[in-house]
């Protein structure tokens, strides 16, 4: 791997870690700003799910739904979020699958674990991330983030936060 490749890998990894940190530190508005205007957050309900239009999903949020969800986080009547869950997102196995300089597009896949503490119990969610990024100068913005849980087809308990 060339020095340039290593630097690119570091840059992409740092972006993913930064995104995870914003989620864990509940800096929701900053997190939402990482997305492009038409950026999509997706947690499918099945492996190899072809689309989110004709198959149910755990979460499929455009910008407007992210606004509703984030506004709800602060709502005193969001009972399922009391007390608000604590999370730690861990990211590893970061691979750059495509880096298209002419189109300004980058595709990275990684693996994640999310520890969540809520209602007196800790839960562990794990799976694969797929980030479709648009290169924005020295930085990136998210066109589509897909979080596929290893057990997305299994029984799911309430989860109120973003993976």
């Amino acid at each position: 791997m060339s020095t340039a490749d290593l630097a690119r890998h570091h840059q992409v990894s740092q972006f993913l870690f930064h995104e995870a940190r914003l989620l864990d530190e509940r800096r929701w508005d900053e997190w939402a700003d990482l997305f492009t205007e038409d950026g999509v957050y997706w947690a499918p309900a099945a492996h190899d799910q072809p689309d989110a239009d004709f198959h149910v999903s755990l979460i499929h949020d455009d910008a407007l739904l992210r606004k509703v969800r984030i506004a709800r986080f602060a709502d005193p009547n969001a009972f399922a979020l009391q007390p608000f869950p604590r999370t730690a997102h861990l990211i590893t196995n970061v691979m750059i699958d495509e880096d298209d300089a002419t189109m300004g597009r980058l595709l990275t896949t990684s693996r994640f674990a999310m520890f969540e503490f809520r209602a007196d119990a800790q839960r562990i969610y794990g799976g694969a991330y797929r980030h479709e990024l648009v290169v924005d100068g020295e930085d990136f913005r998210i066109v589509r983030k897909t979080a596929t849980l290893v057990d997305c087809e299994g029984l799911q308990e309430t989860v109120g936060v973003y993976f």
């Binding site: 149910v56 755990l58 509703v68 969001a78």
Partner: protein
């Protein structure tokens, strides 16, 4: 538990907390309610072709719906006749000509009949083996389909499906009639939401019209606020917000939706209107409906707009948005709610897209509306441990329901009629009366 003790747990206007918390009562419910009532198994579209099966549970028992070579529909126990191994995994699959047991290779037709046993002559002269009815995969006592919705009963005796559904069957009729092609198809995957609470909280809540404006404030009012701020006060909301916003309609709106109750615990809320009534029109769909039925009949079909219909205890549908939630009790304080989506045959894709969106937003474990309901049930499950207060109330508008004849009761939406009616059926099943 003897009959007299059971009888004391349910009054006309209140129930004892133990019906939600006592594992012994849960075991009795499995035997006397889930072991007797018609329980929803699946939809015929899931086994449209010969060789297809769909495996699920009735109570805690493994069953499968199958389609045989001749087109016959069966509901069988998902259990090898030989040494009892479960034959197929949960969900949909295809077995072509035979289901082969993973253990000793016994092969069965999709109608359950034993086809072959390796080294079959070992059973010669015994009372088991080919030709012996007990060596077939056993059918459930009764299975019937109503307009594609397949129900089965573990009990040999009891009312037929149509008689049992009674007036509530009209909700299935309306859901099917909304398809220009006159038929439905299950599609779009399933959401499997685990609740750490008793199954009855869920089936009660669906026609509890005094809760939405409280429980769903944080999602529904927020959606309204975001729509105003982002799109302006006069703008038409996008479909997602049209779905969430009506959950905080006024008490008056929900009151006027009304409640209908029938024998065996069934019932629905809404009728002429519901929280599903104000979604934007899809002109191509209306045109397809008019072409199929003519304008007068279409007007009749669309004039019926129901919220939730409960076929007590297992099946709940939302006709106007073509979704279904299925109740699967696992333990006294553990229940799985599955959400399914239907395509209206002959309707444009836009309708299915809206049904999927609805399930995502309302029924998903990770979303905006359902988790607050689930939290309410969870708190009930915890609160009812308190021994200082023994009863759960269902007094509201007691005695103020109207009898519309043939077992059909009507009350305003704020009434506790749905709960009283469910527990009337509960008591009847639990007393052992078929």
């Amino acid at each position: 538990m003897d009959a007299a003790n059971l009888d004391r747990l349910v009054d006309t206007d209140r129930v004892h907390r133990s019906v939600y918390t006592d594992p012994a009562i849960f075991e009795l419910e499995m035997e006397r309610i889930w072991g007797r009532a018609w329980i929803f198994v699946g939809h015929e579209s899931q086994v449209a072709e010969a060789g297809q099966y769909f495996a699920t549970t009735i109570g805690r028992q493994p069953v499968m719906m199958t389609r045989d070579e001749a087109g016959g529909l069966h509901v069988l126990f998902n259990r090898c006749a030989h040494k009892g191994a479960r034959l197929v995994g949960e969900g949909a699959g295809r077995a072509d000509k035979a289901i082969r047991c993973c253990y000793h290779g016994w092969r069965f037709g999709l109608d359950g009949r034993l086809l072959s046993i390796p080294m079959a002559d070992g059973y010669d002269g015994t009372r088991f083996g080919k030709g012996c009815p007990e060596a077939d995969v056993q059918p459930l006592s009764r299975a019937e389909s109503y307009r594609g919705f397949v129900f089965a009963s573990l009990a040999a005796e009891g009312p037929g499906l149509v008689a049992w559904l009674g007036g509530a069957a009209s909700s299935i009729d309306n859901m099917v009639d909304r398809a220009p092609g006159g038929d439905l198809e299950v599609t779009g995957g399933v959401l499997r939401f685990e609740h750490d609470s008793n199954w009855k909280f869920f089936v009660e809540n669906l026609n509890d019209l005094m809760h939405p404006m409280v429980v769903h404030q944080s999602s529904s009012l927020t959606a309204r606020d975001v729509a105003k701020a982002e799109l302006g006060p006069e703008a038409t909301m996008p479909p997602a917000l049209q779905i969430i916003a009506p959950f905080t309609e006024s008490y008056r709106f929900f009151d006027e939706m009304g409640l209908h109750a029938f024998e065996w615990g069934h019932g629905y809320s809404g009728g002429k209107t519901s929280i599903h009534a104000k979604y934007s029109d899809v002109p191509e769909y209306n045109a397809a409906m008019e072409a199929a039925y003519g304008p007068e009949r279409v007007a009749e079909i669309f004039a019926v707009n129901r919220h939730n219909t409960v076929f007590y205890p297992s099946a709940t549908i939302k006709g106007p948005i073509q979704t279904m939630r299925i109740v699967k009790p696992l333990a006294v304080d553990r229940t799985v709610i599955e959400s399914w989506t239907f395509r209206l045959k002959g309707a444009p894709d836009e309708l299915l897209r809206r049904s999927i969106l609805y399930c995502n937003l309302i029924n998903s474990s990770a979303n905006l509306v359902g988790p607050d309901d689930q939290e309410a049930y969870r708190r009930q499950q915890q609160g009812l441990r308190a021994e200082g207060a023994e009863w759960v109330a269902m007094h509201r508008d007691l005695g103020r329901e109207e009898d519309l004849g043939e077992g059909h009761l009507y009350a305003k939406g704020s009434s506790d009629l749905a709960f009283r009616n469910q527990f009337r059926a509960w008591k009847r099943y639990m007393a052992g009366v078929a």
